[in-house]
């Protein structure tokens, strides 16, 4: 089955992570091993506050695991793109400046990065808003800026940490469609974190269900439904129900 999924992009091996203050110990992630394949849409589904964000942080290099290793297949290409939970779009920069930022930090040529950023802004459907400030944009639009900025880094892996959690239901459905459209157009390896089962089944090639604190791998589902998927299709609902029974979503 593994061969069908293509080449491995990132290997997580026996990852554990715990935090401690002076008195308490808090285990966030316990012994997780995952292979992430090239250009797959991988969804990590898990309850509440536990471990998922920490896992993404470790893949992106923001934090290092207490135990275990994160390994990119190509050690020279470890750039990631990160779409954050809340909109981490800089309010003091225009849309263009925000999207350009990763390229600017790499000191790329100005006209070159303008061109690339313009392409990405068009890709996420924000044409015409290049010079707007984030305060003039809606929540969904801000998250589009976040996605464009993540792409601008030319990432090997695109990490999305509950990017639509703060949006209203309507916008959320719309953004789910959008993120698939963008991904089809600019294929990348995506690791998408959510606590919403419907969202997971709608988006994923593969859903990895994580347990509650500390996060462990509970079950892996390969979703073979045809895209675009229908939320009320019989197979969709059956799959959704199966996953629902198997999660300890603490709601």
């Amino acid at each position: 089955m593994d061969e069908q999924l293509g080449t491995i992009k990132v290997k997580l091996r026996n990852i554990s992570k715990s935090f401690y203050s002076r008195k308490e110990v808090f285990e966030a992630v316990d012994n997780i091993s995952i292979d992430v394949y090239e250009n797959e849409f991988l969804v990590l589904l898990g309850p509440g506050q536990c471990g998922k964000t920490v896992l993404l942080n470790m893949i992106s290099g923001l934090e290092s695991p207490t135990e275990g290793t994160v390994q990119f297949t190509d050690n020279n290409a470890t750039d990631v793109g990160f779409v954050f939970q809340k909109t981490a779009v800089f309010p003091w920069k225009t849309v263009m400046e925000n999207v350009e930022l990763p390229l600017e930090l790499k000191k790329e040529d100005k006209t070159e990065r303008r061109k690339r950023a313009q392409y990405l802004i068009d890709l996420v459907g924000l044409n015409g808003f290049e010079n707007s400030l984030p305060k003039q944009l809606s929540g969904g639009m801000k998250q589009r800026v976040g996605i464009a900025r993540a792409y601008a880094n030319n990432p090997q892996v695109l990490l999305m940490d509950e990017p639509f959690g703060a949006l209203d239901a309507q916008t959320r459905y719309q953004m789910e469609e959008e993120v698939l459209r963008i991904w089809e157009q600019e294929k990348r390896t995506v690791i998408f974190v959510t606590n919403n089962i419907e969202e997971a089944v709608y988006l994923a090639d593969r859903v990895i269900v994580l347990s509650s604190c500390p996060a462990k791998v509970k079950e892996i589902y390969n979703i073979k439904l045809q895209r675009p998927r229908d939320y009320v299709n019989q197979d969709f609902l059956r799959l959704r129900e199966a996953i629902e029974k198997n999660t300890d979503l603490a709601l």
């Binding site: 554990s16 401690y20 110990v25 285990e27």
Partner: protein, 281 residues
């Protein structure tokens, strides 16, 4: 299950030890840096004066300041009073002006924040007077009230009054309408809404105002004593200047600083007691 717990605990315990040790080391290092630097600061100052890099006539060494401080506790020379008398004179002035400012300023600000008509009537006068620094009132108030206690209390009052009013006013204005509506649906009268909801909500900000007031009052006290006084800490440092006694000036500054710091600490302790509901950040 128990077995596994044990395993993870020991694994975690190990890394805790490493990291807490690192944190402790860092904290210790920072503390040492702080101590060394403050020691260097006073050390260099002391040496600079002793080796005559700085003319001792205009700036004395820290050791001389401590010596003068000790003698000033019992010796009224050369500025006419022992340190205790200066302190009491200044404290009396500050407390009268400051407490009066709180008693008048806070209710005024609260009422202005809630009652629109009252606000429109009072705030223009307030806005006209506000931009004039209290210190600029000194000569005029001396002409009106003489060189005694009254003039100085008046100026300290002015200085402390403004932040009390502004902050309690803003506090009431920022009361979330939801809270007011809750009270309304419970059938509260306007006065009840004001006294039970708005006043409570305004408390943290009011306290900030009271703190700012204290700083203002304290520094205005010094100013008014610099201009005209026969005792008090401001008078003492002014005398130190006329007599070219930097040690007297520095003792005065030190005392002013210490008393100010003590007041601020006491006030924030009190604030924590009164405004318990506010989440600590």
């Amino acid at each position: 299950m128990g077995n596994q717990d044990e395993k993870t605990t020991s694994k975690v315990a190990n890394s805790i030890l490493i990291e807490t040790a690192a944190r402790k080391r860092e904290r210790k290092q920072l503390l040492i840096i702080s101590l060394v630097c403050i020691f260097l600061f006073f050390g260099i100052w002391e040496i600079a004066v002793r080796l005559n890099w700085i003319d001792g006539k205009y700036l004395c060494a820290p050791s001389a300041v401590i010596k003068t401080f000790m003698t000033k506790l019992s010796d009224p020379k050369p500025d006419g009073a022992v340190l205790g008398i200066h302190i009491i004179t200044s404290l009396k002035l500050v407390l009268i002006g400051y407490i009066a400012a709180i008693i008048i300023g806070v209710p005024l600000g609260l009422l202005m924040g809630y009652y629109h008509t009252f606000d429109k009537l009072v705030s223009p006068i307030f806005e006209i007077i506000r931009p004039i620094p209290p210190i600029a009132w000194i000569p005029l108030s001396i002409i009106w009230l003489g060189v005694g206690t009254a003039a100085k209390c008046f100026i300290i009052f002015l200085a402390a009054f403004v932040p009390c009013v502004i902050n309690s006013y803003t506090g009431v204005k920022l009361t979330p309408p939801v809270l007011v509506n809750v009270a309304k649906t419970c059938g509260a009268t306007r006065w009840e809404i004001f006294s039970t909801v708005c006043v409570h909500y305004a408390m943290p900000l009011t306290f900030t105002g009271i703190q700012v007031s204290l700083g203002n009052a304290w520094s205005t006290l010094v100013a008014s004593e610099l201009v005209s006084a026969t005792a008090g800490l401001g008078y003492m440092i002014q005398q130190g200047r006329s007599l070219v006694r930097p040690d007297i000036i520095l003792v005065g500054m030190l005392t002013i600083g210490i008393l100010g710091a003590i007041f601020t600490t006491l006030l924030s302790k009190l604030e924590n007691k009164v405004v318990k509901w506010r989440a600590k950040s």
